[in-house]
C-alpha cells in the first residue's frame, strides 16, 4: 500500500510538473508458480525496484512513469507462458518485457509473441545455449551468460578438485539438456569421464529408478542439473539416503537457500557455481535490496534489476519507448564507452543520456553484452561446508 501511495504521489507530481510524460508499461514475465517459484518473488521485486527508481527520477522521456505488469509464465508450460505473455502484449500494451525466466518458456514466448509483435525481451535467467543462435530480429537480450560457458566453468571446477569420473542427471527440458551437454563436452575434452548422462522428469514423486541407474553407472560425484524445488531435490534426497553419491556438483538451478535449508549438513563436500558477480556494483545493489526488504544475493535478482535498467536506459538513449526504435540502443548503453553507471545511479544515467552523453551501464552484474546480446558472465563458486552456502571465489 505504501509503495502504491508513493508511486501515486510521484505520479501525481510528475503529471503536474511534466505534462508531456507517458505511462511506460513493462511486463515482468517470470514463473511465479512452477519449478522456480521460490526464486521469482525476489527477482520481480528487484525488477520493480529499478522501475520505481526510474519513475522517481522523472527523467525518462520527459517524466514518464514506469508501470510493471506481472505475469506468470509457469516456467515449465510453454503454452501457458505464450498465452500469458500474449495477453500482456495485446491487452496491456507493454513496451518491453523483463523475462522469461526459464529457457524453454523463453524460446516459446520469443518466437511466438516477442518477434511477431516486435517486443523487446530481456531475460535475466534463461541460460540455454539454444538462445544464442535464435532468430530474434535483434529483440532478445539476456543479462545472464549462456550455459555453454557455465558448462565449461563447471567442468574446470570439477576437474580441479581431482574428480575425473562423474554421472550427470539433468532435468528434461531445454535448460537441463543444454547445460548437461555443454558440461559433458567440456569435461570429456579435458580428460574426464562421464559415466552416464541421463534425464529426470520434474514433478514425479518417486526417483528410486533414476537414483538406482545413476548409482550403478557410478562416479566420484553426481552433477545434478535440475531444479531445487523439483526433481533435483528428489534425486538429491534419494542419492543421499541410499549412499549412492556423497559429492554433488550444483549449477545455478540448484543454488538456492532452500537447498541449504533442506540438505545443509549433507553437502559437506559438494560445490557449485551460479552466474553472479562481485565488485562495487554488486555491493551497491545489495544495499539497495536490503533497503527494499529483500535479499540481494538471491539467485538472478541482480540480473533482473539489470535487465529492467537496460530496457529503460535504452528507451532514454533512443528518446522513444517504441521497441523497434530502442532495441538498437540496448547494446550501446550496456557496453559504452561512456560514463559507468552502477545500481542506484539510474537517475544519473538518464540525465547523461538526456544531455546527449554516452553511458556504460555496469549494474549489479557487470553487464557487458557479447555476441548476439548476452553477457559473458562471471560465476560465483560456492561450497557448502559447515551446513551453509559459502562463496569462495569468482571466475
Amino acid at each position: 500500500m505504501k509503495k502504491f501511495l508513493l508511486a501515486s504521489v510521484a505520479g501525481a507530481t510528475l503529471a503536474a510538473g511534466a505534462a508531456s510524460g507517458e505511462e511506460v508499461k513493462l511486463g515482468i514475465a517470470f514463473g511465479f508458480t512452477g519449478p522456480l517459484e521460490s526464486m521469482s518473488p525476489d527477482m520481480a521485486t528487484s525488477a520493480e525496484m529499478a522501475m520505481t527508481e526510474v519513475t522517481d527520477s522523472g527523467l525518462l522521456l520527459d517524466g514518464s512513469t514506469v508501470t510493471p505488469v506481472r505475469v506468470d509464465t509457469t516456467c515449465a508450460d510453454a503454452a501457458a507462458a505464450v498465452t500469458a505473455v500474449e495477453r500482456i502484449v495485446t491487452a496491456d500494451q507493454v513496451q518491453g518485457i523483463v523475462g522469461g525466466m526459464c529457457s524453454g518458456e523463453t524460446i516459446a514466448t520469443l518466437e511466438r509473441v516477442g518477434v511477431p509483435n516486435g517486443i523487446v525481451m530481456i531475460s535475466p535467467s534463461a541460460t540455454s545455449p539454444a538462445l544464442t543462435d535464435i532468430e530474434d530480429n535483434g529483440l532478445f537480450f539476456r543479462t545472464s551468460p549462456s550455459d555453454a560457458r557455465q558448462g565449461e566453468v563447471m567442468a574446470e571446477l570439477t576437474l580441479e578438485r581431482g574428480i575425473d569420473t562423474v554421472a550427470v542427471s539433468y532435468t528434461n527440458n531445454d535448460y537441463g539438456k543444454g547445460l548437461a551437454d555443454s558440461f559433458a563436452a567440456a569435461f570429456t575434452a579435458q580428460g574426464g569421464t562421464v559415466t552416464m548422462n541421463a534425464a529426470h522428469d520434474d514433478g514425479k514423486g518417486d526417483y528410486s529408478a533414476e537414483v538406482a541407474a545413476l548409482a550403478s553407472a557410478g562416479g566420484d560425484a553426481l552433477v545434478l542439473v535440475g531444479y531445487v524445488d523439483q526433481g533435483g531435490a528428489g534425486i538429491l534426497r534419494g542419492s543421499l539416503d541410499s549412499g549412492a553419491f556423497s559429492t554433488f556438483v550444483f549449477p545455478d538451478g540448484m543454488i538456492s537457500q532452500t537447498l541449504v535449508e533442506n540438505f545443509g549438513p549433507d553437502l559437506e563436500t559438494s560445490f557449485g557455481q551460479s552466474p553472479s558477480s562481485e565488485g562495487e556494483g554488486r555491493d551497491r545493489f545489495n544495499e539497495l535490496a536490503e533497503a527494499a526488504g529483500f535479499d540481494g544475493g538471491s539467485q538472478f535478482a541482480g540480473e533482473s534489476y539489470d535487465a529492467t535498467a537496460l530496457i529503460l536506459l535504452a528507451m532514454a538513449s533512443a528518446g522513444s519507448s517504441d521497441p523497434s526504435v530502442y532495441k538498437d540502443h540496448v547494446v550501446e548503453v550496456a557496453n559504452g564507452p561512456g560514463e559507468p553507471i552502477l545500481p542506484g545511479e539510474l537517475a544519473k544515467g538518464l540525465e547523461l543520456l538526456v544531455n546527449g552523453e554516452a553511458i556504460d551501464y555496469v549494474g549489479a552484474t557487470g553487464v557487458e553484452l557479447i555476441g548476439p546480446g548476452e553477457t559473458a558472465g562471471t560465476f560465483r563458486v560456492l561450497e557448502f561446508t559447515g551446513g551453509t552456502m559459502n562463496t569462495i571465489g569468482y571466475r
Binding site: T33, E37, S38, N172, M196, A198, A199, H200, D201, G203, K204, G205, D206, S208, A209, E210, V211, A212, A213, A215, S216, A217, G218, D229, A233, G234, R237, G238, D241, S242, G243, A244, N262
Partner: protein, 335 residues
C-alpha cells in the same frame, strides 16, 4: 564377498525402494478397486483425495508438535493418522451425499460418474492447495534410518552400503496390517459380506434386505482410510507436494487394472508389479554384473531402457494385460 556385495546393491537400489513404492501403490490401488467394485466407477479424484487426507494429517502433526506430543522415534504422523482418516472419511461421505448419490439415484452410466469424479478431483485439488499451499512439505520427524549406509558398511565391512529408512519399514508394516484388516473385514464380518454381496449382484443384495446406503457409506469410509494411509505413507517416504499426488494417479490406476479392477488381491499384486517393473527394467545391471562376473567388463551399462521410459513400462504391461487378459491378472471385472 562379491556375491554379498551384489546382493546388497540389489537390495539397496532395487528391492527396498521398489517394495516401499509398491506398497504405497498397492494401498492406493486397493481404494480405487474397492470403489470400482462396489460403486462401479473409476474414481479419478483418488489422487487428490490422497493429497487432502495427507494435508489434514500434516496440520494435525503440526498441532501435536506444537503441543509437544510425539511418539519418538516414530513419526508423529502415525499418531495423527486416525484423526486424519476420520476427517477425510467425513469429507468423502459428504462428497458422496452432495455429488455421487444424485447420479446413483438416476442410475447414470458409469462414464457420467467418472466425469463427476473428475469434477470432484478439481475441487479437491483446489481445496488442498487452499488448505496447505503448493510448496514441498516434509513432516517425517523421528528417526530417519533404521540402518544407514555408513553404519551398514562399518558393521559388515562390505564395500557396498545398505540404507533402510524408517519410513520404508513403516510403509511395509502398515500396508501389511491394512491389507490384513481389509481382507478380514471383507471375508469375516457381516458388513464386509454385505459389501461383497452388493458388489457381486446389486439387485439380489437389495432383495435380501441389505441396506444400500449403509454399504455405500462403509465403502467410502474404508476408502478414506486407505487413501489417507497411502497418502501419508507416501508423504513420509518422499515428501508432501500437492502436485505429486495427481501424478501418482496414473501408476495407481495401472496397478489396479493390471491386477484386475474390483479384485482387492489383484490391487496389491498390481501395485508391486508396477513398482518393481518401473525400477528393475530401467536398472543398469553393470555394477551387479561386475561383482558376479569379475572377468567380464561390459562396455555399456547393461540397461534395458533409459529411466525416462519408466512410466512407459507400466503402461506396456497395462496394454499387454488388457489385450490378453482384459479382466486383469486376478480376474476382476472387465470394462
Amino acid at each position: 564377498m562379491d556375491i554379498l556385495n551384489a546382493l546388497v546393491t540389489l537390495l539397496n537400489f532395487v528391492v527396498i525402494p521398489a517394495a516401499a513404492y509398491g506398497a504405497q501403490l498397492a494401498l492406493g490401488a486397493l481404494g480405487v478397486t474397492l470403489i470400482y467394485g462396489i460403486l462401479r466407477f473409476s474414481n479419478f479424484a483418488h489422487g487428490d483425495t490422497m493429497a487432502f487426507g495427507t494435508a489434514i494429517c500434516i496440520l494435525l502433526v503440526w498441532a501435536l508438535q506444537a503441543a509437544g506430543i510425539g511418539i519418538a522415534p516414530l513419526p508423529t504422523a502415525l499418531l495423527a493418522l486416525p484423526a486424519a482418516i476420520a476427517l477425510t472419511a467425513l469429507l468423502m461421505v459428504a462428497t458422496d451425499r452432495a455429488v455421487y448419490r444424485f447420479y446413483r439415484r438416476q442410475r447414470s452410466a458409469p462414464i457420467i460418474m467418472v466425469m463427476a469424479s473428475v469434477g470432484v478431483m478439481f475441487m479437491m485439488n483446489g481445496l488442498t492447495r487452499l488448505l496447505i499451499g503448493v510448496n514441498e512439505i516434509r513432516f517425517d520427524d523421528g528417526a530417519r534410518f533404521v540402518v544407514s549406509v555408513a553404519e551398514f558398511r562399518a558393521w559388515t565391512g562390505l564395500s557396498e552400503g545398505l540404507a533402510l529408512r524408517q519410513s520404508q519399514v513403516i510403509t511395509l508394516v502398515v500396508t501389511a496390517l491394512a491389507c490384513w484388516a481389509l481382507f478380514w473385514f471383507l471375508n469375516r464380518t457381516r458388513s464386509g459380506k454385505a459389501m461383497r454381496a452388493y458388489s457381486d449382484n446389486e439387485d439380489l443384495a437389495l432383495l435380501s434386505g441389505i441396506d444400500p446406503d449403509r454399504v455405500v457409506r462403509i465403502t467410502w469410509i474404508i476408502a478414506a482410510a486407505l487413501v489417507t494411509t497411502a497418502g501419508v505413507l507416501y508423504g513420509l517416504d518422499k515428501s508432501f507436494r500437492a502436485f505429486n499426488y495427481f501424478q501418482i494417479l496414473l501408476p495407481i490406476f495401472a496397478a489396479a487394472i493390471v491386477g484386475g479392477l474390483g479384485n482387492p488381491l489383484g490391487a496389491v499384486a498390481g501395485g508391486f508389479i508396477v513398482a518393481f517393473s518401473e525400477v528393475a527394467v530401467t536398472y543398469p545391471w553393470r555394477k551387479i554384473a561386475g561383482y558376479l562376473l569379475p572377468d567380464w567388463q561390459p562396455a555399456g551399462l547393461l540397461q534395458l531402457l533409459s529411466t525416462e521410459y519408466k512410466f512407459a513400462v507400466s503402461f506396456v504391461i497395462l496394454i499387454v494385460v488388457l489385450l490378453f487378459r482384459p479382466t486383469g491378472l486376478f480376474r476382476g471385472k472387465s470394462f
